[in-house]
C-alpha cells in the first residue's frame, strides 16, 4: 500500500489540509476522505460529468484528477454553490424549470453551468449546449436544463429570457409562494 500524502488545498473558499493515497482520485478524496458526497460517481472515465467540480475557474471531471493534484488549487464543489441558506440563481432556476428528475447528474450540470456563466454571462443556446455536452443526463432530454441555464443567465443580467422556437420561458413555472421561499436572501 502506498504511503499517504498531506495535501494543502482550498475547497469552497476554505483552506483544507488532508491526507490521501497518491492513487486516490480527487473524486474519491472529496467523497470518501472529506465526506463531500455531492459530487457523484457515474463512470470514473470522464464521460458522464456527474463528478464535475470547478478548479481555478475551469470545469473538471474530478474522477480524472488525482487528489494530490489539488494541492495549491482552488476547488469549488456543489456544496459551495449556495451562499449560506440562499441558493445560487442556477439552483433556483433548475428547481423552477423542473430541470431534474432523478437528480444524480444535477450537481455536475450545475458546476458546468456555473463555470460557463462565470466566463460567458450571456451564452446562446448553442453555447450552453456545447458547454454542457460533457454532462450526461438520462432523464430529461436536456430541454429543461438548457431552459434553466438560459433563464439563469437572463436573471443574473436582469433580462427576461427567450428560448428555442420563440417561446418565452413562462414566469409562472413555479408557484409564487415557493419561489419566495427559495429566494430568501441575496443571490451570488
Amino acid at each position: 500500500m502506498a504511503n499517504k500524502v498531506i495535501v494543502e488545498t482550498t475547497i469552497n473558499g476554505d483552506p483544507v489540509e488532508l491526507l490521501c493515497e497518491p492513487r486516490q482520485s480527487l473524486l474519491e478524496v472529496l467523497r470518501d476522505v472529506l465526506e463531500l458526497t455531492g459530487s457523484k460517481e457515474g463512470c470514473l472515465t470522464g464521460d458522464c460529468g456527474a463528478c464535475t467540480v470547478v478548479i481555478d475557474g475551469r470545469p473538471v471531471c474530478s474522477c480524472l484528477m488525482l487528489g494530490v493534484e489539488a494541492a495549491g488549487k482552488n476547488v469549488s464543489t456543489i456544496e459551495g454553490l449556495a451562499t449560506g441558506a440562499a441558493l445560487h440563481v442556477l439552483q433556483r432556476k433548475f428547481l423552477e424549470h423542473a430541470s431534474l428528475q432523478c437528480g444524480i447528474c444535477t450537481p455536475g450540470f450545475l458546476m458546468s453551468a456555473k463555470a460557463l456563466l462565470d466566463r460567458n454571462p450571456n451564452p446562446t443556446e448553442a453555447e450552453i449546449r456545447y458547454a454542457l455536452a460533457g454532462n450526461l443526463c438520462r432523464c430529461t432530454g436536456y430541454d429543461k436544463i438548457v431552459r434553466a441555464v438560459t433563464d439563469a443567465a437572463a436573471t443574473m443580467a436582469g433580462r427576461s429570457s427567450r428560448t428555442a422556437h420563440g417561446g418565452a420561458v413562462p414566469a409562472e413555472t413555479a408557484s409564487g409562494m415557493v419561489s419566495e421561499m427559495l429566494a430568501k436572501g441575496e443571490d451570488k
Binding site: 500500500m1 493515497e21 465526506e35 458526497t37 455531492g38 459530487s39 457523484k40 460517481e41 457515474g42 463512470c43 470514473l44 472515465t45 464521460d47 458522464c48 456527474a50 456543489i78 456544496e79 454553490l81 441558493l87 439552483q91 433548475f94 428547481l95 423552477e96 424549470h97 423542473a98 431534474l100 428528475q101 432523478c102 437528480g103 444524480i104 447528474c105 444535477t106 450537481p107 450545475l110 449546449r129 456545447y130 455536452a133 460533457g134 454532462n135 450526461l136 443526463c137 438520462r138 432523464c139 430529461t140 432530454g141 436536456y142 430541454d143 429543461k144 438548457v146 428555442a164 422556437h165 413562462p170 409562472e172 413555472t173 413555479a174 408557484s175 409562494m177 415557493v178 419561489s179 421561499m181
Partner: protein, 777 residues
C-alpha cells in the same frame, strides 16, 4: 401555466417546486453510494471474462491471505434455490435463474457474469484481492444472437430448457415440438380472423425483416448496496432501487431467508428506467456482511453496469402487412424473437401484445419467442418489449402509407383503435386517446410548418404501452400545527413526491408546501410495488388520494364532536370545516389540528390500493414527429425538430409530465441512432464505457416539444394515466421514416448509426446508378 389547470382544481395542474428539490441542487440528497457506516468494508465482484464457460474450480486461498481482506464468497456459499415462477410486482421471476444470475455456479453464461466477490477494508484492497482469486474455466462456444441460438445445432446454454407455447406470460405452457434441450424457452401467439383472406383483400402487401441491437437503460448512477447483517440474523439493506419491497422479496429468495428478517431502506435513486427493479449486489453484500460480521458496501463501476446489468433485448422481426388502396389494413403477420440474455425472461410477450395495438386489424397473427443467448440477462427497460416491435411494424406502416399515397397520420387515423376495439391479445380497450394524439400532431405548429432543404426529412410514428397498476400503501399524518406528512413506499425517481404532496394539498385544501412527503422503508409502510410501469403517480397517487380523504373524514368527525353534531351535519369546503346550520364559527385545518388531542388523539389517514384489480390503469398512447438532416458524406443524422403528443389522462404536475415525455423521446433517439452493444467473436463486450456506448448529449438534441393530450382515465379518481414509458416507443420508427424522406433509404436495422447508414446510402446510390445505366442502354 394557467392554461394547464382545470377549474375544478386549485393545486393539481400547477407547477410547484418539488419538496426534495433543495436537497438535490445542493448535493445533500443521499443516494445509495453516499451511505457509510462505522466499520464498513468495501466489496467488489469478480466477473467472468468468458461469454460461455464451465467453471471447473475457484481457489480463493491467496486472496484471503491479503492483509485487509475479510471475506470472500463464491457460488458455493449460496443456497440452492428451486425454480419457482414468482410474480414480483411487474416482474415474472424464476428464482432459480435469479440466484444463478446473482452468482454463477457451474457455468458462466456471459462476459461479466459474477463468479466470486470479496470484502476488504478499502475498495482498492478488495480489487487487489479479486486479482488473486484463481478460476479455472473451460471455455465453451458462445451463442450471441437469437438467430444463432434458434438453430437446431446451436450450442445449448441451459440443458433443462424446453420450448413451450404459453397461453399467458406466467403460464409454464405445453411442450412444443420434441422434448429436447432448447434455447427457446417461450413462445406466445396471438391470432384472429383469416390471414390468407386478409392478404387477398389487400391492394398492397409489404414484407420486411428488422434487427435491433441490445441497448442499456443508461441510468447515470451505478447499482449499489450496503448490507448490515446483525448477530440476531436480521439483515438491513440500504440501496438505490425502484422497488424496496422487490429487493426484500428477491433477496430473501436468493438467500433462502424469511422476508420478515430483512429490512430494505431505499436511498435516493439516480435513474432506473426498469433496470433497478431486480437484485444484483444486494444478496452478495448480505453474504459478505454475514461472513465478515461487518457492514459491507458495494458499488458497481460503469463497466460492471454495462457488462452485467440491464440491458434490454435486441430482436429479430419479420413483418408482413397488407392494406387496401383506401388505407384500411386488411391483415398483419408478425414474427418476433427477443434475446433474453443468459436466462429466460425477455419482454417477448409484452412486445407481441403492444405491436400494432394502436390499430384495428381483423386478420392478425403475432408469434413471439423468448431466446437465451450469452449476453447479460435483460431487465425491464421503459415499456419493455414495445419499442423494438413497434419499430418494425411502424416502419412497414410508413411504407404502406406511401404506397396508398396517404399522409402517414391520415393512414394511421383510418385504422386507429378506439374505446371498445380489441387489442392484439384480445381484451377491448377502455377509453383511450390514441386518435387524439394523431390529431394533436397533425394540427401542431411543427407538422404544419413545411420542412425544406436538401437531405432533410420528416417522420411520424406511434406507440402503445399498457401501464402498470399494482399495489400501493399510503399514510397521511395530520400534525398539531395543521401541516401534513404523507408516507408511501414509492421510491421517487422523477418527482412523484411532488405529485403526492399536490394530491394531499388538493384534497385537504391546504398549500402544497404544508405537505411533507416521506419515502419509508419496508418496515415502516405497507407493501408497495415498484416505481415502474408508469404506475407511481397513478396507483400510489390513488392511495394518497384515498388516505387524504380518510383523514378528511376523520377530521369532519372531530369537528362534529367539538360542535356536538353528527358527522353529516358538518361540511368541508375550500379548506374549511363548518356546521351546516352555521351554529358555530368555522375551523380551518390548522385550528382543528390544534384540538385533536382533546377530541380523541392524532388523526392518521390510511389507504391501500391494488390499482390493476380495480381497473384503474389507463392505457397510454403517443405519437412522435421528428425532422432530421443527414450529412450525405458522413451519414451523420442531426435531429432538427422533435414533437411528442401523448395522452396523459390528467397532468398532476405538468412540468414533470413534460419531463417524462422529453426524457422518453431522448432515449428513443439514442436507441435509433447510436446505442448498441458491440460483442467480438468471443462474445466479449467491447464498448463497456460511456464514451463508446454513446448516449445522446445535449448537443445531439434540440428542444423537445410536448403536447399533453388529456383524455381523463375514467377509472381513476383524478383521471390520471401513467405517463412515464410510452414516449420511448415511437421515436425509432419516426427517425427511420425521416431518414427515408431525407436520403431515400429505408433502414431495417437499429441503431441507424453513421457507418450503417452510410453503407445503405452508398448501396442505394450504386443500385440507382445501375438502374439508370441499364435504362440508358
Amino acid at each position: 401555466m394557467a392554461s394547464d389547470q382545470s377549474p375544478e382544481f386549485k393545486v393539481i395542474g400547477t407547477r410547484p417546486v418539488r419538496p426534495d428539490g433543495v436537497d438535490k441542487v445542493t448535493g445533500r440528497a443521499k443516494y445509495g453510494a453516499d451511505y457509510t457506516l462505522p466499520g464498513m468494508l468495501h466489496g467488489k465482484v469478480l466477473r467472468s471474462p468468458h461469454a460461455h464457460a464451465r467453471i471447473r474450480s475457484i481457489d480463493v486461498a491467496r486472496a484471503l491471505r491479503l492483509p485487509g481482506v475479510k471475506a470472500i464468497v463464491t457460488g458455493a456459499d449460496f443456497p440452492e434455490v428451486k425454480g419457482v415462477m414468482a410474480q414480483v410486482g411487474e416482474l415474472i421471476v424464476n428464482t432459480h435463474y435469479l440466484s444463478l444470475n446473482v452468482m454463477a455456479r457451474d457455468k458462466a453464461l456471459y462476459d461479466g457474469h459474477a463468479v466470486a466477490a470479496g470484502a476488504a477494508t478499502s475498495k482498492h484492497i478488495a480489487e487487489e484481492a479479486l486479482e488473486l482469486i484463481e478460476v479455472d474455466y473451460e471455455a465453451l462456444p458462445p451463442v450471441m444472437t437469437a438467430e444463432e441460438a434458434m438453430r437446431p445445432d446451436a450450442p445449448v446454454l441451459l440443458e433443462e430448457l424446453r420450448t413451450r407455447l404459453m397461453a399467458h406470460r406466467t403460464d409454464p405452457g405445453a411442450l412444443e415440438g420434441p422434448d429436447r434441450a432448447s434455447n427457446v424457452p417461450g413462445h406466445i401467439r396471438f391470432e384472429r380472423g383469416d390471414l390468407d383472406a386478409g392478404f387477398r383483400a389487400a391492394d398492397y402487401v409489404v414484407e420486411r425483416e428488422f434487427t435491433t441491437a441490445t441497448v442499456h437503460q443508461g441510468y447515470i448512477e451505478p447499482q449499489n448496496a450496503l448490507a448490515v447483517y446483525d448477530a440476531d440474523e436480521h439483515l438491513t439493506i440500504y440501496c438505490s432501487t425502484q422497488g424496496s419491497f422487490n429487493v426484500r422479496t428477491l433477496t430473501a429468495s436468493v438467500l433462502a431467508m424469511s422476508e420478515g428478517k430483512i429490512r430494505v431502506v431505499p436511498a435516493e435513486i439516480g435513474g432506473g428506467f426498469g433496470g433497478k427493479t431486480t437484485v444484483y449486489l444486494e444478496p452478495v453484500a448480505a453474504l459478505l456482511a454475514k461472513k465478515s460480521g461487518r457492514p459491507v458496501k458495494m458499488v458497481m463501476t460503469r463497466a460492471e453496469v454495462l457488462r452485467a446489468t440491464g440491458p434490454t433485448s435486441g430482436i429479430k422481426a419479420k413483418v408482413k402487412i397488407g392494406a387496401r388502396r383506401d388505407g384500411k389494413i386488411t391483415a398483419a403477420e408478425v414474427w418476433l424473437a427477443y434475446e433474453a440474455g443468459a436466462f429466460p425472461g425477455s419482454p417477448f410477450a409484452p412486445g407481441a401484445m403492444c405491436t400494432l395495438a394502436p390499430y384495428i386489424i381483423e386478420n392478425l397473427r403475432i408469434d413471439s419467442y423468448d431466446v437465451v443467448v450469452n449476453r447479460p440477462k435483460v431487465a425491464a427497460y421503459r415499456a419493455p418489449g414495445s419499442p423494438a416491435s413497434a419499430f418494425a411494424c411502424e416502419c412497414v406502416l410508413d411504407e404502406l402509407a406511401e404506397k396508398c399515397r396517404l399522409d402517414p397520420i391520415e393512414f394511421r387515423m383510418r385504422n386507429a383503435a378506439h374505446e371498445g376495439a380489441p387489442q392484439p391479445a384480445g381484451p377491448a380497450f377502455k377509453k383511450i386517446g390514441f386518435a387524439e394524439t394523431l390529431a394533436a400532431i397533425r394540427d401542431s405548429d411543427h407538422y404544419r410548418t413545411p420542412l425544406n432543404g436538401p437531405f432533410r426529412g420528416r417522420g411520424v410514428a406511434s406507440g402503445f404501452w399498457f401501464n402498470g397498476g399494482l399495489q400501493s400503501s399510503a399514510i397521511v399524518n395530520i400534525h398539531g400545527d395543521g401541516s401534513v406528512s404523507v408516507v408511501t413506499g414509492s421510491v421517487d425517481i422523477g418527482g412523484t413526491r411532488a405529485a403526492q404532496a399536490m394530491i394531499v394539498a388538493e384534497t385537504l385544501g391546504i398549500a402544497v408546501d404544508e405537505v411533507r412527503p416521506v419515502v419509508a422503508d419496508t418496515d415502516a409502510i405497507g407493501h408497495t410495488d415498484v416505481t415502474g410501469g408508469s404506475r407511481t403517480a397513478l396507483a400510489t397517487g390513488m392511495a394518497v388520494y384515498e388516505a387524504s380523504r380518510d383523514a378528511r373524514d376523520q377530521l369532519i368527525g372531530r369537528a362534529a364532536k367539538i360542535w356536538d353534531k353528527k358527522p353529516d351535519e358538518v361540511v368541508f369546503e375550500q379548506g374549511v370545516f363548518r356546521p351546516v346550520d352555521g351554529s358555530a364559527p368555522s375551523l380551518n385545518l390548522r385550528q382543528l389540528a390544534g384540538r385533536l388531542a382533546r377530541t380523541g388523539g392524532p388523526v392518521v389517514g390510511r389507504a391501500t390500493v391494488n390499482a390493476g384489480a380495480v381497473g384503474a390503469v389507463g392505457n397510454a398512447f403517443a405519437t412522435v414527429c421528428i425532422d432530421v438532416e443527414v450529412d450525405p458524406d458522413t451519414a451523420k443524422v442531426r435531429i432538427l425538430r422533435c414533437t411528442i403528443a401523448q395522452d396523459v389522462g390528467r397532468a398532476l404536475h405538468p412540468a414533470y409530465v413534460e419531463g417524462q415525455l422529453q426524457g422518453a423521446v431522448a432515449q428513443g433517439v439514442g436507441w435509433a441512432l447510436n446505442e448498441e452493444y458491440f460483442y467480438d467473436q468471443k462474445g466479449t463486450l467491447r464498448n463497456f464505457g460511456l464514451l463508446d456506448y454513446r448516449m445522446p448529449t445535449c448537443l445531439d438534441l434540440p428542444m423537445i416539444e410536448t403536447i399533453m393530450v388529456e383524455v381523463p382515465n375514467p377509472n381513476h379518481p383524478l383521471g390520471v394515466r401513467g405517463v412515464g414509458e410510452v414516449g420511448i416507443v415511437p421515436p425509432m420508427a419516426a427517425v427511420a421514416s425521416a431518414i427515408y424522406r431525407a436520403v431515400g433509404v429505408r433502414m431495417a436495422e437499429l441503431p441507424m448509426s453513421a457507418p450503417r447508414l452510410l453503407k445503405a446510402i452508398i448501396e442505394n446510390r450504386v443500385t440507382t446508378f445501375d438502374a439508370q445505366a441499364t435504362a440508358a442502354k
